[in-house]
């Protein structure tokens, strides 16, 4: 029983990590209609940047902040110079962000090499909490906490703030929001930078959990795409549910059917699609 509980926590922790990544992906998708295929690569970049800072004897938390800041700045630059010209052109966006993912991933390999690295767990969170006979690693609990906080923050931003209102309105009728005097371009840039920051944040937080290696960007991108598909296009609530489901199924699947865990996640996605092609929380799309 206690083993299953510990596995469950691991699953939920992974799920929260997937949520943090998928949230960035799905917000960009929902608000700007851009599939950012470089999202997984920004995740990887965040982890590697933090790795460098920590190797320079910097505190984990400062490294985290710096990595988030740098990925956000990179996201800002990418949006301003490269993504802006291809708004509304779906194929172009896909190809462009795909090309970017190649460039960034290859740059990471160039700078940091191909060997595996892992981020150290911060000292504060290296222990574990025992409840009854079950040991819960603190760091995993912490990731779950951050995921919940992020979900709350997104809910708060969406429903209680002016920015949230503008974004919700912008999704429905971009031209009208623009006519009301809102600088939609600026909002888009902000949303993209925010999404990139989320990717960077989850990269650093994921570093101690899943390690760092070349090709991790693809794996994480595919997982988060599955999460987004299960949850529904552009719905971060759907991503929240979908991510936890994927995390738990994947982790438990690894225990019971080691070679088929990925297959199970995929089958669940297929099943969701057969029943609800628009995803669990997605709106009907034309």
């Amino acid at each position: 029983m206690s083993a299953i509980l510990a596995q469950l926590l691991t699953g939920v922790a992974y799920g929260m990590l997937y949520f943090m990544i998928a949230a960035g992906l799905t917000i960009i998708l929902g608000v700007m209609n851009v599939v950012n295929l470089a999202h997984g690569t920004l995740f990887m970049l965040g982890a590697y940047i933090a790795f460098t800072f920590i190797n320079d004897e910097l505190n984990f938390w400062i490294a985290l902040l710096l990595a988030v800041f740098l990925t956000a700045v990179l996201g800002l630059a990418l949006e301003k110079w490269l993504i802006k010209p291809v708004y509304g052109k779906e194929l172009e966006q896909v190809l462009l962000t795909f090309g970017l993912s190649f460039i960034i991933a290859d740059a990471v390999e160039w700078i940091w090499g191909t060997e595996m690295h892992t981020l150290p767990t911060p000292d504060l969170l290296s222990g574990s909490l025992s409840i009854g006979s079950t040991e819960f690693p603190l760091y995993r609990l912490f990731v779950v906490l951050v995921g919940c906080l992020l979900a709350w923050l997104l809910w708060y931003l969406e429903t209680k703030t002016r920015i949230g209102a503008i974004i919700r309105a912008g999704v429905d009728d971009r031209a009208m929001v623009s006519a009301l005097g809102v600088n939609v371009g600026l909002v888009f840039t902000g949303v993209f930078a925010f999404g990139a920051a989320l990717a960077g944040l989850s990269g650093v937080l994921g570093g101690p959990l899943i390690g760092m290696y070349t090709g991790m960007d693809n794996e994480i991108l595919v997982t988060s795409l599955i999460v987004v598909v299960i949850g529904g296009l552009g719905s971060w609530k759907g991503s929240f549910i979908g991510a936890i489901a994927v995390g738990v199924i994947e982790t438990l699947g690894k225990v019971w059917f080691p070679s088929l865990s990925m297959l199970m996640v995929f089958l669940i996605m297929m099943m969701v699609l057969i029943v609800r092609p628009q995803g669990l929380f997605g709106r009907e799309v034309a």
């Binding site: 998708l29 209609n33 599939v35 295929l37 490269l82 010209p85 291809v86 779906e90 194929l91 172009e92 896909v94 190809l95 462009l96 795909f98 090309g99 970017l100 993912s101 190649f102 460039i103 991933a105 290859d106 740059a107 160039w110 693809n218 794996e219 991108l221 595919v222 795409l225 599955i226 987004v228 598909v229 296009l233 070679s259 088929l260 990925m262 297959l263 995929f266 996605m269 297929m270 699609l273 057969i274 092609p277 799309v285 034309a286």
Partner: protein
Amino acid sequence: MKKLLFGAVLLTALVFAMPLVLSDFAVNLATEIYIMAIFAMSLGLIMGYAGMVSLGHAGFFGIGAYTVAVIGQHVANTYLLLLLAVVMSGLIALVTGAVFIRTSKFYFLMITLAFGQLLYVLFWQLKTWTGGADGMSVSAVMNFGFGEIVSPNGLYYVMGLAFVISYFFLHLLVESPAGKITKGVMENEARMSALGHNVRVYKLLVYTLSGSLAGLAGALYAYFNVFVSPDLSSWMFSGQVMVMVIIGGVGTLLGPALGASVFIYLQNFMSTYTERWPMIMGVLLVALVLAGKGGLIHWLQHGKRLLVSRKRTGEAVSQQTVKKGEAVH
């Protein structure tokens, strides 16, 4: 039809004459180009004639390649193996496609990507059959009933012929009523639906054909490379073939084939100088998206139009303009 036959004869003659002037290295490169051209045409078919952008097409390539590698250990018959590769990839395309085509653009893209990556992981994890990450060597040897084909020139002719046949098969398909309806669906799904066509059936048809053609390319590749690995199904490879299609130009059959030859040539050329090929490819792709208008085939057509319009009368020019409008769609 006469024009088509003439084209077929001309293309075949060209393919068969090439080894007379090419070096051994170039023949080998051309063989690979033919295979990739078939693969690129299969993706170009669904992208350019049905508006379906798949990022998991390498999955079918991998299925074809692993069919020859795995089943080829027990079955020697080349005809049977190629048929199996085509049928297997076609069947999987049919089943998955039936679910996938219910979704809209972004969804389709993401789901195909996830699907391709799933196959990649499967080939990776089914270690007892596929050799896992180390890949496996192909023991099957190509034999069409008149001796084993192992020499570079022999393989060249087979792949060249396969390319010509695939091209004309696709040509007939897109010119057929079904092909025209599919193109109509891409341009205006609601209208074709209102005209009484079952839109999904046509989409599924081209998706399935495209999948089985990609499977054929994969099977040929297994014979050519005598080694297969999960990388054949990775999204990196799916992306590469998409780049081939984009370089060449979407909306024609020869465009993707042309793109494949440029891509493979560039890859070979660049990799002798630098390891940073993915970065070069990425930059190329970004530049093409931001500055390139329609890919090589459209530049060529544009150039041809400029030449032709000087010679011909106004009527011919206006016909050309209509064609241009079609190509841009």
